[in-house]
């Protein structure tokens, strides 16, 4: 974060003049030798007992079931899981404390400029091929009907061995033992 602020300042001032550069040299070693922040600040301190609501054993089992993870083998493992979960939740609460008013959540790293959106837009030109794959049927009662069996050749999708990595097969089906 500190580094980003540095670059931001540099970028801004470089457009004006090179006055900042010429005044004094940067001592990178000195700047970076002092720690100003650590991720440890986002974790709960080990000595204090957390005052935030605890995760119950029931909730833990529910979460494990949702994620299809195996339940804990013994009470000590469960206690370990609960401790880990608790510190993870502390971390999440610290993150949630950041003010994000007016900021829409990031979904994925992609081009969010208007040009990017324009490039992504699906319009008439992009669907020209699909529209050509339809017939206008009927003279009096006009309808559209998609033409079937257009592409006879097998696409790449069809040429791999679908059942190749299955442990158990019956005929052409994957097999699942559903008993509880």
């Amino acid at each position: 974060m500190f580094r980003m602020q540095c670059f931001h300042v540099l970028a801004r001032s470089s457009t004006k003049s090179h006055r900042w550069f010429s005044s004094r040299p940067i001592d990178a070693e000195a700047l970076l030798s002092k720690r100003t922040w650590s991720v440890r600040s986002l974790l709960p301190s080990t000595d204090t007992t957390p005052d935030s609501p605890q995760v119950s054993s029931e909730q833990l089992h529910h979460l494990l079931r949702l994620s299809a993870l195996p339940p804990p083998k013994d009470p000590s493992e469960e206690a370990r899981m609960l401790r880990t979960l608790s510190s993870q939740l502390h971390f999440v609460r610290e993150i949630q404390a950041v003010d994000t008013t007016g900021v829409s959540p990031l979904r994925t790293l992609r081009d969010e400029t208007t040009e990017g959106e324009q490039r992504n837009e699906i319009g008439l030109a992009e669907l020209k091929d699909a529209l050509c794959g339809e017939d206008a049927v009927g003279k009096h009662h006009k309808r559209v009907r998609r033409r079937r069996d257009q592409d006879g050749q097998k696409t790449a999708a069809e040429t791999w061995h679908v059942l190749g990595s299955a442990e158990k097969l019956i005929g052409k089906y994957f097999v699942v033992e559903g008993g509880k």
Binding site: L66, A68, P105, R107, T108, R110, E117, N120, E121, I122, G123, L124, E126, L127, D129, A130, L131, G133, E134, V137, G138, K139, H140, H141, K142, R143, V144, R145, R146, R148, D149, Q150, D151, G152, T155, A156, A157, E158, W160, V162, L163, I170, G171, K172, Y173, F174, V175, V176, E177, G178, G179, K180
Partner: protein, 624 residues
């Protein structure tokens, strides 16, 4: 089941026989695992092949059943009283979610083919699976833009506002029919919102719901695109076979607002949506073939109150709702809603409380069964899919599709009714046949016929003539040709009678050159003959005769009888059947006159007796 005589086979049976039975459905045994299966997903196994019940037959059966009930119970009020007071006090509210398979060449996020191609091994299990569909680690979804075409048409047909930007979200749950562990759907931002659907009495909406208006409007909350799951089949006690061919197929989910207040309307809504989607080529596999599935949400409240104050998407004052999943026929929709409504009323009247649970329905059951309670509610942990960019739909595309939309079923039926003079019921039945090909044939024949026999004296006269010829052609295309197709169990592709030929027959009939009976005979003859071979290369051994040739060959041209000849024939029949004469004269059974007319037509020479004139003669002789 197959009748080799010319006796007309029952229409519904032959229609059912015409539908090819699809991949064999293994029925789920009602065991705990099966119920759990049902609770997890919409449908996994394909439904049992069901009998197709067309709307006309459904309406007729309902009318017959009501009549039989009245007759049997004698006192109509006794049966209604058990229901009426409760329904006077309690009001039903229903919301429907429909999942329909889109008509596309590829799946939604992979280029695997969506349909079986001819002469290929695509019909076998696990043969149309891309690596993303099988959830191989590291595979990515790729949105197939061609799937937008039917989806947009569906949205426009249901009068929705297409959103320029919409997103893809993951709905997480574990099941063996969901290889990825999540389904890609549009939870937060669907691609179409705020539509509507209009229904009238002819769609099957009961009078109580219409409240004197001509039609009701059901709001559509949204339409979203999502993936279908794989197919699983139960073989043996706890073994399941998984077929990934269906995994990743594109579906649209149409969610209606809770504006529906009766089971009949709910079934009518599902029917109407299926018809609309079929009419714009968006979803062409119907409910009976498993291409369309419905989930319904049912709640009741006391009339005049606001239930428990629960609301859904702006509609407030509702009772606690329960969801019934996996309804796979129109009748099931209606029956399940009736059963659930009655159950809820019983519980509430006894002082109990309805729980918000998920319930199931099996054909032939009397009550819905509980699949999943509130504690078993699944936490789907919806989150935006990071692998897919947002869906951005251009307005030029939407505009183009709006202007080139095919006519919706409502407009087609209204046109047939007002322009061509058909009854609304006939128009509806005609439009349901053969994907609109029957309507095309009808309009062709009607226009040919009008061109030949119309006098076009004035605009008013032309309208009258057009409606008269329209009605005539309608009867012949719907009932006569329909009857022949059913009797000989052929599909419309093999009708062999051309519009020109039918026009020729009807011209002869219109000019009174032949009787109706003779015309039917000619039609049957044309129907049976081999179609004329295409091209001039083959010297036709068995050429298709023209209608004129058939009339001459069968000596069918009408040779009208004189009044005396009619009387002589009538007296002959009356003398042979004194009991029938007594029935008409003394007991006043006027209906039996038609029996005499029939006898005259049959006993007279072919192409001589006209039924209308015969009736007049017989009535005159009977009257004395």
């Amino acid at each position: 089941m197959h009748s080799s005589t010319l006796r007309t086979a029952p229409v519904h049976l032959t229609r059912a026989l015409q539908h090819p039975s699809f991949t064999t459905a293994h029925s789920l045994r009602p065991c705990v695992v099966a119920k759990w299966l049902q609770s997890r997903r919409l449908t996994t196994a394909s439904p049992r092949t069901q009998e197709v019940i067309p709307l006309r037959k459904h309406l007729k059966d309902e009318a017959k059943r009501k009549k039989a009930e009245v007759k049997r119970d004698g006192d109509v009020t006794s049966k209604k009283q058990t229901l009426d007071p409760r329904l006077d006090k309690w009001e039903l509210t229903v919301g429907i979610e429909i999942h329909a398979e889109l008509n596309t060449a590829c799946k939604l996020f992979s280029s695997a083919p969506a349909e079986v191609s001819v002469g290929d091994d695509g019909g076998s299990a696990n043969s149309r699976v891309a690596d993303f569909d099988a959830a191989l680690p590291g595979t990515q979804p790729q949105f197939q833009i061609a799937t937008l075409l039917p989806a947009l048409r569906a949205a426009i047909a249901l009068e929705c506002e297409v959103q320029r930007k919409s997103g893809w979200d993951r709905k997480h749950y574990f099941h063996w029919d969901q290889p990825n562990g999540y389904q890609i759907t549009q939870y937060y931002q669907p691609f179409a919102k705020d539509g509507s659907l209009t229904l009238g009495a002819f769609d099957g909406v009961p009078a109580e719901d219409l409240n004197g208006a001509e039609s009701i409007t059901i709001g559509i909350k949204q339409i979203q695109m999502e993936q279908d799951t794989a197919k699983t089949m139960n073989v043996g006690s706890s073994t399941y076979h998984v077929d990934l061919n269906r995994a990743g197929m594109p579906l649209i989910e149409v969610i209606t607002l809770p504006h529906i207040h009766s089971p009949q309307t709910a079934a009518a809504v599902v029917r109407k949506i299926q018809a609309v989607l079929k009419g714009v080529d968006a979803c062409v596999t119907g409910m009976e073939l498993g291409g369309l599935r419905a989930d319904v949400n049912v709640s009741v409240r006391q009339r005049g109150t606001s239930g428990i104050g629960s609301s859904y998407s702006g509609v407030g004052g509702l009772g606690q709702r329960t969801e019934i999943k996996n309804l796979s026929s129109f009748k099931a929709v209606e029956d399940a809603i009736v059963a659930e409504r009655d159950r809820q009323i019983t519980v509430l009247e006894a002082g109990g409380v309805i729980e918000g649970e998920t319930r199931g329905w099996t054909l032939g059951a009397t009550e819905t069964t509980r699949l999943r309670g509130k504690e078993g509610e699944v936490d789907y942990r919806y989150m935006p899919d990071a692998d897919l960019p947002p869906l951005v739909i251009g307005s030029d595309l939407v505009q183009h599709l709006k202007t080139t939309m095919p006519m919706l079923p409502d407009a087609v039926e209204r046109d047939l009714e007002e322009w061509h003079g058909l009854s609304r019921k006939d128009a509806k039945t005609l439009n349901e046949q053969d994907n609109g090909d029957r309507v095309e044939f009808f309009e062709r024949t009607a226009s040919f016929l009008l061109a030949e026999v119309g006098t076009f004296k004035s605009e008013v006269a032309t309208t009258k003539e057009r409606r008269k010829t329209g009605k005539l052609v309608g009867n012949w295309v719907l009932h006569e040709l329909g009857g022949l197709l059913a009797t000989h169990q052929r599909s419309w592709d093999d009708v062999r009678v051309t519009a020109d030929e039918l026009k020729d027959v009807l011209v002869c009939l219109h000019k009174n050159e032949i009787t109706a009976r003779a015309a039917k005979q000619i039609l049957a003859e044309l129907f049976q003959r081999q179609p004329a071979p295409d091209g001039p290369y083959w010297p036709s051994m068995d050429t298709r005769p023209s209608v004129e040739q058939l009339v001459d060959a069968g000596n069918l041209r009408l040779r009208p009888l004189s009044e005396d000849e009619y009387e002589k024939l009538a007296m002959q029949i009356m003398d042979a059947n004194p009991d029938m004469v007594k029935a008409v004269r003394e007991k006043g059974q006027k209906g039996k006159v038609m029996w005499f007319v029939g006898q005259m037509v049959r006993q007279g020479e072919e192409g001589t007796v006209e039924p209308e004139k015969a009736k007049v003669v017989i009535e005159r002789l009977m009257g004395g």
